[in-house]
Amino acid sequence: MKNLTKYKAFWPTVAFVVLLIFNAFFTKNFFAISIVDGHLFGNLIDIIKNVSPLALLSIGMTLVIATGGIDISVGSVVAISGALACSIIDKRLGFFDGSLAAALIFGLLAGVLCGLWNGFLVSKVKIQPIVATLILMTAGRGVAQLITKGKIVTINSAPMMKQYYFLGAGYFLGLPFAIFIVAIILVGMLMLVRKTAFGLFLESLGINSRSSRLSGVNTDRIKLVVYTISGFMAALSGILISSNIKGADCNNAGLFIEMDAILSVAIGGNSLAGGRFSITSSVLGAFVIQCLTTTVYAFGVPPETILLVKAFVIVILCLFQSQSFRQKLMAWREGKKVHSA
């Protein structure tokens, strides 16, 4: 038990399993999977499909948080990349009209630029990360509005609509296609952080940036890179979200999703102060959040109390993750035992 709790992935896994067990007893047909139109269908598949954008964000966010920073602009970047990609698909911008490749490239490029901007502000201008990314968080939705000229873009009539829709809502080998994107990105990122020295540099930077620099870690460049990765992830996530709803809604796409991304990292057992991190357990954290959302809907909680129920569950989860709370609980239980004996 002690050995297991040492792993960051332990608590999110427990939470996920507990949620599933809860559903097994209390939610009707939660595990039912049927085949509709040649692909799998059911609550579990829903979780897998809907978790993808958040999972991508949580990967980028983990790296940023490992440096001791934070990126609260990802929700706005989601809006920007979605707006740009959909506008190109829907032939609204007057260049590369209707091209799927251009939509993806420019959408992702926008995210990379946003990330570079954040990284520049944090590493070169030395603005505190939360303030630096706050700029883009507020300005980003304005930029998205400029791209769509203040309108909600729908791509129903665009020639490449089907292909674009496939990215976020399509199925491959019976499973949602988006989850394959997540898997590829996750494996790629794991290779980057564990098969190169990137992970070591990142952790050392998060733990003590002064000694890291003196030991030769190029702290500025690493920061620039992680914010850029976060921007890229946000853009990819924005494309999936806009694809899933066949359109770009600058005001609501990815609204408050940065908070869920940060929460995923926290549920994954990563310290928000930086240092040691695990991308995999952040992704598990995203699964916990999505599973909770799906559970709440499937269980039939009245819509007006959904947010409260979510908050309640998350508070409990965070309490269990806190070592000092667990120690107190143990001490209390032992005290009780002594008392009754």
Binding site: T196, A197, L200, E203, I207, N208, S212, S215, G275
Partner: protein
Amino acid sequence: MNKPLLKMSGINKSFPGVVALKDVNFTLRTGEIHALLGENGAGKSTLIKVLTGVYQADSGTIELNGIPIRTQSPKHAQELGISTVYQEANLCDNLTVAENIFIGREPMKRGRIDWEEINSRSRKLLESLNLNIDVTQTLDNYSVAIKQMVAIARALDISAKVLILDEPTSSLDKAECQKLFEVMRKLRNDKMGIIFITHFLDQVYEVSDKITVLRNGMFVGDFEADKLSKLDLIGKMIGKDYEMLEKAVKTEGLTCKGETFLTADNIASSSVKPFSLEINKNEVFGLAGLLGSGRTETARVIFGADKSEGGKIFVKDEERHFKNPIDAIKVGIGYCPEDRKVDGILPDLSIKENIVLALQTKKGLFKFIDKKTQKEIADKYIKLLDIKTPDSEQLIKNLSGGNQQKAILARWLATEPDLLILDEPTKGIDVGTKAEIQKLVLELASNGMAIVFISSEMDEMLRCCGRMAVYSEKQKLGELSGEQINEKAIMDMIAGGGAQ
């Protein structure tokens, strides 16, 4: 003889895999300054932590005024009258002196904080320590020494019978130390018991009445200070003959000059005036001067840690521009910084990761040193430098100060540098390890490495350096070499420079 105020007997404490204290006794009488000595990792801190309730002893008894006590927490210890002032006084710089003294237990009047009471009582308290300062100023206006006094005043006001001073003098200059000692003597005359922990043996003899020595968690003995010679004391602390170690170091002192490795031509930074230097292989080159004289700043600008303003640096006759430390590391320079905690260790990483970090940055991001090789490298240096740890996977923050310093040294040795800059490599380290490090420095130089050595301890500088530059007020004053080097010459140069 006074009756015992505090008596700890047969204290045992072990942690998983390590016995930290074994049958340790400690007796403190009223009106006594009692030095607690031992090498790093001897168990001094653990004993104090048991006394103040941070740890619970596995067995053994503690008596205060003849009554058995069992301290549950530092707060509980404080309530019993046992107060501690730590090395880095845990005060808040942004609060006033008076607020610092009364924080958390402010006297109230009609539901509000009684500021008048706080200020006047603080003033009185500090006056009793012969300190007349404005207590309504924030603490960051005052020197480290005064902060130390404020911490003591705070401890006294919480009503201390036993006052523990943990390395109180490590950041004080001579005059400030004297002031602290006066206060300590005054408190002794007020019948208080003081436990004094330090690495400076001269200071021990200056104020202490008694000395208790620990070694490897064992109780070596307690002694009357005036009946134990310094050499005997050192012998008891390290368990071997100190003179032998001294000799081994001295005979190897070298001045033979190798080829020039680095030349600094009129280099300056925002915090050091233009200077020129030549650093040769096979040589220990000293940067002498007081703290803040420009010696650390010189090292930092050579290493690319600070931005250089004008001037040129040549490495093996080739001009180089170091924008970041990594640029210097790549041409074979290493820098062991002065402040181990702030600039050196990565507390939450393992010893292994701490050791391989600089080598990894030198190799670059993609030539990843795999886990197995990392372990081999770490184990090699753990053995070579005799770092005391169960294995290389331990977090470095769990090591004692001296062993942390060795691990940082290992980090740079692993990069196999041509030039190694050592800034206060023996600060806060016990005598045995100190001699080991000095010996290592001379060995490295005789094997061809160029070493830049910075230390506040004069005899260490004299012992190790073949040539040195003398600094004062951010300026290089001149150089001394070989026979010229002695304490008086250095002091004369600093005094002369100050008069200019």
